[in-house]
Point group: C2
């Protein structure tokens, strides 16, 4: 990694364990290019899984679906993916769902299991068991064409949601898993408060929501209203001991959240680390860590 | 965590994902109390495995054994443990080994697999397959009494090695896995060079060696010689792109290695981070990161 005015440093390396220094490798990961320029990396490769299965379950409402997700975690299962799609997403994509969805399905859980053939089977058996209570439908496949059709539907969710009103404002908040139902409910509350249709989907097993307000992209007033709703969304996520970003970082769009997510002591540490690596603030300035004058 | 002169900061938390700031949680882990005092932590619990198996293989020499370990990694297996014991360890514990060891066994591989019953079975099947070539013996058990007997033997290795000459100097170097055989060979070279009996054992899958010189604890001359041999050991580990510590950190004993493991630019970053959290150098001073005046 090139840091400061051109010093080259190496941390990590080809060893699997190393506790001689502080874990600076983890510090670099997700630093959004704000600490320096990574010029080389060792990658650890793992074998492709032998088998994979896809399990999908439909529910009447989010409370039944989230209860099923809770059972998946309580069973100690480790599927490769564990996602949910709320009523707004299901409504926007009902006709595109492979084979169609009956009108009483308003919440979907989609999960993939992988590993050895036996392990993918075992986990998907237990997933089916964990998800069956109150499910309107529950099915499993390892047929490549059926899986590809589901993946195609999944890939279209974001576009279908955008198409509802021409635009959307979507943020990747994260909450502790036990707050997932509360976070979905909270988004409904904000919809009512700000008069903006909303929906969410995401990586349920991680408590990671793509919380979305659907907006008329041609209406500046509506966009301003969505920005206010998003500010409220971030505040609620933090009240739930969550974070404003589960996977996309702060970047430029969420830079204003830096001093909300972190208190003065935490912010001063993050700023100190930024300036230690980049005293001239030349590496992707104004992102991730917001300095006092920025 | 309490840092500086008493500021309380919180990083991490009950969420499974969070990329809003830099990963300071990983920075704290393994910091040996040098950055502050951790006063609270969230722990992520995982279910106890349903089943576990122990596989043990004996070889005539370390090259055959390390080749077997290489096949375990090449198969992409993920046993819970994957350990080795070289000729010196086997010699020191031959009579204590459950059921005895024949004289032609000079190198042991011990591995545990766990998970669901099916997965523990599957991995141990593949382990047996990966380890069988050139093995003098190869066996597997999931009998609790046989496993306990092996664990008792394993726990005694360090004591049996110490008992050979009354003392030992043992360091937890780590090397990239593909350098494991070279590291075992290198220890033999240092034994010849410094006229000190040596042995090693460790977490083979991680390339982590407990590289040991057996010394007469009553001989100051011999202890000095072992210290020189250990310095040479660290230098060779670093030449192999390894580290002076795979798991125990630097502490007080290995503090002199700080400026060998890290170049000036890396050391300045580590010192900068230390002083950012602990400007008065009050948290476990003189460990992990060695400041200029220390």
């Amino acid at each position: 990694m090139v840091i400061r005015a051109g010093d080259v440093v190496t941390f990590g390396g080809p060893v699997r364990k190393d506790v001689a220094g502080y874990d600076l490798r983890s510090l670099f990961i997700g630093s959004e290019g704000t600490l320096g320029i990574i010029t080389g990396a060792w990658l650890r490769l793992i074998p492709a899984p032998e088998a994979s299965h896809t399990v999908i379950a439909g529910y009447r409402d989010f409370r039944s679906g989230v209860a099923g997700l809770g059972r998946v975690l309580a069973y100690g299962l480790t599927p490769a993916t564990l996602e949910y799609f709320d009523e707004g997403c299901v409504g926007a994509t009902r006709r595109a769902f492979p084979g169609g969805l009956s009108d009483d399905v308003n919440f979907l859980v989609l999960s993939e299991t992988d590993g050895s053939a036996g392990e993918a089977d075992r986990i998907s058996d237990q997933l089916m068991d964990a998800l069956k209570q109150d499910a309107v439908f529950l099915s499993r496949t390892h047929d490549p064409r059926a899986t590809a059709a589901l993946t195609r539907w999944r890939s279209g969710v974001s576009f279908a949601v955008s198409a509802q009103r021409g635009g959307k404002m979507s943020e990747d908040i994260v909450v502790p898993f036990d707050k997932l139902a509360a976070a979905i409910q909270m988004l409904g509350d904000l919809e009512a408060q700000f008069h903006l249709p909303s929906c969410s989907w995401g990586h349920a097993g991680d408590g990671n929501l793509h919380a979305t307000f659907m907006v008329d992209a041609a209406s500046p007033e509506e966009i301003t209203r969505a920005e206010l709703a998003t500010e409220a969304l971030f505040a609620r996520a933090l009240e739930m001991h969550g974070s404003v970003s589960g996977e996309h970082g702060l970047g430029w769009v969420k830079r204003s959240q830096f001093h909300r997510q972190f208190g003065p002591a935490e912010a001063s540490l993050l700023m100190g680390i930024k300036l230690l690596f980049d005293p001239d603030n030349i590496f992707n300035p104004g992102k991730k860590v917001i300095l006092p004058h920025e």
